[in-house]
């Protein structure tokens, strides 16, 4: 403990003034400037997807008209796609289309891309939400445990355990999980969102299978869905817990080394109370922002894990379209991931602003 008091110098002691509640108005100006930044980033995102979309070596017209089309048909489609116009004009057409919600038609399904995506997105959100619940619970508790036992064996074990989660190729973990828990032990369901013979039994209302089956009070489907969800969600959760553990540990260490913790201990509070009632309460806001960011990066793992588990979600949609070269669908997916990321960043920033008085 003597080490701790050394780190906090006189400055922090002087900074503690008598509790005066100063209510400052919410800082609208900084919020507006942040929203402006977000708008610029979104615009950049559109430029990026546009550029990537135009980079591809394959001919988009050929993909539509086929190999044996006459020259007239080819040129008609060429003009229809607006490819005869200058590049900047094409960009503004793209911009207008995106802003009016027109993302083009999928070559494979013939439906508007956005309809397809909205149809598959709930499956991914269900998976990712379950995964983040597991990842956050695991990550936060391990992080606190590691911080409390800093440099002792639990800290080292947790460090290696969470770095393992960070270093595993998630598609491989998924396969091994299937081999062990499904093929060998039979504890969980295999690939897909539910057992085959339940497909179509429950009306699709929200697209979230757990909610839909609960609404229909079809508990057999519910159990099957849960059975299929648990393995991919645990694996995703484990991989995202690495980041959460590390951040929780370092936030907790920051708190534990401060004087108020020593004071609380001197006042006679138990170790457990100082950890959970004092230190942990102070890192809540930081944790929420971390979890929000981790939720965003789950999308990355979801792309791979959905391929392994034949999970009919966003990631599978993205990879399937990528393999057949349907750039409309791919670019829309990329755009949506970017928007989700930016939104989560914004939300976590706002939470910080609202709950942490120091940022005002």
């Amino acid at each position: 403990m003597s080490k701790n008091s050394k780190t906090a110098g006189w400055g922090s002691a002087l900074a503690v003034s008598p509790a005066k509640k100063i209510r400052r108005p919410f800082n609208w100006r900084s919020l507006m400037s942040q929203l402006f930044t977000v708008a610029v980033t979104l615009f950049g995102l559109l430029v990026l997807t546009f550029v990537i979309g135009r980079m591809m070596p394959s001919d988009p017209v050929r993909a539509i008209v086929g190999e044996d089309a006459t020259r007239e048909t080819y040129e008609m489609v060429f003009r229809q796609l607006g490819l005869d116009r200058p590049l900047w004009e094409q960009f503004f057409i793209y911009l207008r289309d995106v802003l009016t919600g027109n993302f083009g038609v999928s070559i494979r399904t013939g439906q508007p891309v956005i309809t397809d995506i909205l149809h598959v997105l709930p499956a991914t959100i269900e998976l990712a939400t379950f995964a983040i619940l597991i990842g956050a619970t695991l990550g936060v508790s391990l992080g606190v445990l590691a911080a409390v036992n800093k440099d002792r064996w639990p800290d080292h074990v947790i460090r290696v355990f969470s770095l393992m989660g960070h270093s595993m190729p998630i598609f491989w973990t998924g396969m091994i999980g299937l081999l062990v828990f499904y093929a060998a032990l039979g504890w969980v369901g295999g690939s897909g969102r539910m057992a085959d013979f339940y497909i179509g039994l429950v009306d699709e209302r929200t697209g979230f299978l757990l909610i839909d089956s609960a609404l229909a009070q079809d508990w057999e489907v519910f159990r099957s869905a849960l059975n299929h969800l648990i393995l991919p969600a645990s694996i995703l959760g484990y991989s995202s817990s690495a980041y959460i553990t590390r951040m929780t540990r370092s936030f907790m260490l920051d708190q534990i080394n401060q004087e108020y913790i020593t004071t609380a201990r001197v006042k006679g509070l138990s170790r457990r109370q100082t950890i959970w009632r004092h230190a942990f309460l102070n890192i809540r806001v930081q944790l929420v922002t971390i979890v929000a960011l981790a939720y965003g990066s789950l999308l990355e793992g979801a792309v791979l894990i959905e391929t392994v588990f034949a999970w009919p979600g966003f990631g599978q949609y993205l990879t399937n379209n990528m393999l057949i070269g349907d750039m409309n669908a791919v670019m829309t997916c990329v755009l949506i991931v970017g928007v989700i990321f930016i939104t989560l960043n914004l939300i976590s920033d706002m939470l910080y602003r609202i709950f942490d008085p120091r940022t005002r």
Binding site: T37, V40, T41, G44, L45, L48, T49, I52, G53, M55, M56, P57, S58, H156, R159, V160, L163, M164, H166, S167, M168, P169, I170, F171, W172, T173, M175, I176, L178, L179, A183, M247, S250, G296, S297, L299, E300, V303, L304, T307, V308, L318, T319, M322, L323, G325, M327, V330, M331, V334, V337, G338, F341, I342, N345
Partner: protein, 294 residues
């Protein structure tokens, strides 16, 4: 006198490297990381002597043979020796890491140091662009690039490089900001050094150590992204013995022949873990305050 002379002969960077190495060896986890990476390099260099078979040699009479006997890790669906393929795969892994780092380092340094030193509008624009790239998960953006360029190992490397320079640029900028107003930079300016000379001679060398650490830390991510791309069929194409692609091919026979996916996966895990452990140790060794930086 002689001892002093030899001491002076050892260049500073080498001394620092020795110190870092000594620090790393004290922690068992970083020592383990260092060991695995050394083994990886040795295996890659001496692959033809270590591998008992040719990586592409098929033996159709002996397909999907279980581990043991003549084939330590078994054979795949075409009777190729999995151990030999893994050994040759180290070369691909190291190539990917090397090429990505050699592209990403200079780009990140250039963008970061110029943005930090010049400041103003240029800085704002560059950091906006960096933020846009950072607003994607790296795998998704690499996927998009590969989809546009066409799947191949080279394009996967280009895509990974295109998506992993922003954190380096951020770091180099932050470092530059701390050195920009340093006295020695002011002195160089007063002597009439040009902007480019100041950046190259005075700023870049100061940013180099932290950028190198960051690159090491990046390597684990690079390996995982490359393997992920390979697995999705967007990276190295069969029959190249890239570990991710090997897992993708073995997936079809996974239920009956577990060894097809298990060993390449272990290889990726081991190398990824090694780079993470080493990076972790380096962070502690060189700057404990940087622990939380992305």
């Amino acid at each position: 006198m002689t001892t002093q002379a030899t001491k002076l002969a050892v260049p500073g960077p080498l001394l620092a490297l020795g110190n870092i190495l000594r620090f790393l060896m004290k922690s068992p986890t970083s020592a383990f990381g260092l060991l695995v990476i050394s083994v990886l390099i040795v295996v890659a260099v001496f692959a033809p002597w270590i591998a008992p078979y040719e990586p592409y040699a098929q033996d159709l009479n002996n397909t999907l043979a279980a581990p043991g006997g003549a084939h330590v890790f078994g054979t795949d669906e075409l009777g190729r020796d999995i151990f030999s393929r893994l050994v040759y795969g180290t070369r691909i892994t190291l190539t990917i890491i090397f090429l990505v780092s050699i592209v990403v380092g200079p780009i990140g340094l250039f963008v970061g140091t110029t943005a930090g030193y010049l400041g103003g509008k240029y800085d704002t624009v560059m950091m906006r662009i960096t933020d846009i790239f950072l607003s994607f998960p790296s795998l998704i953006l690499s996927l998009a690039f590969v989809a546009a360029l066409g799947p191949s190992l080279n394009n996967a490397i280009i895509a990974i490089a295109l998506t992993s320079w922003p954190p380096i640029a951020r770091l180099a900028r932050a470092e530059t900001l701390t050195f920009r107003s340093a006295d020695y930079v002011a002195a160089a300016r007063l002597q009439g050094a040009s902007t480019s000379r100041i950046i190259i001679k005075s700023i870049v060398p100061m940013c180099l150590p932290s950028v190198l650490i960051r690159l090491t830390l990046n390597m684990a991510t690079v390996i995982l992204t490359a393997a992920g791309l390979g697995f999705l069929g967007l990276g190295a194409q069969p029959p190249v013995p890239e570990w991710g692609a090997m897992i993708a091919m073995g997936r079809r026979y996974m239920i009956d022949s577990w060894w097809l996916v298990t060993f390449p996966g272990f290889a990726i895990l081991l190398v990824g873990l090694a780079f993470n452990l080493l990076g972790d140790g380096l962070r502690d060794a060189l700057d404990p305050k940087q622990m939380n930086r992305r």
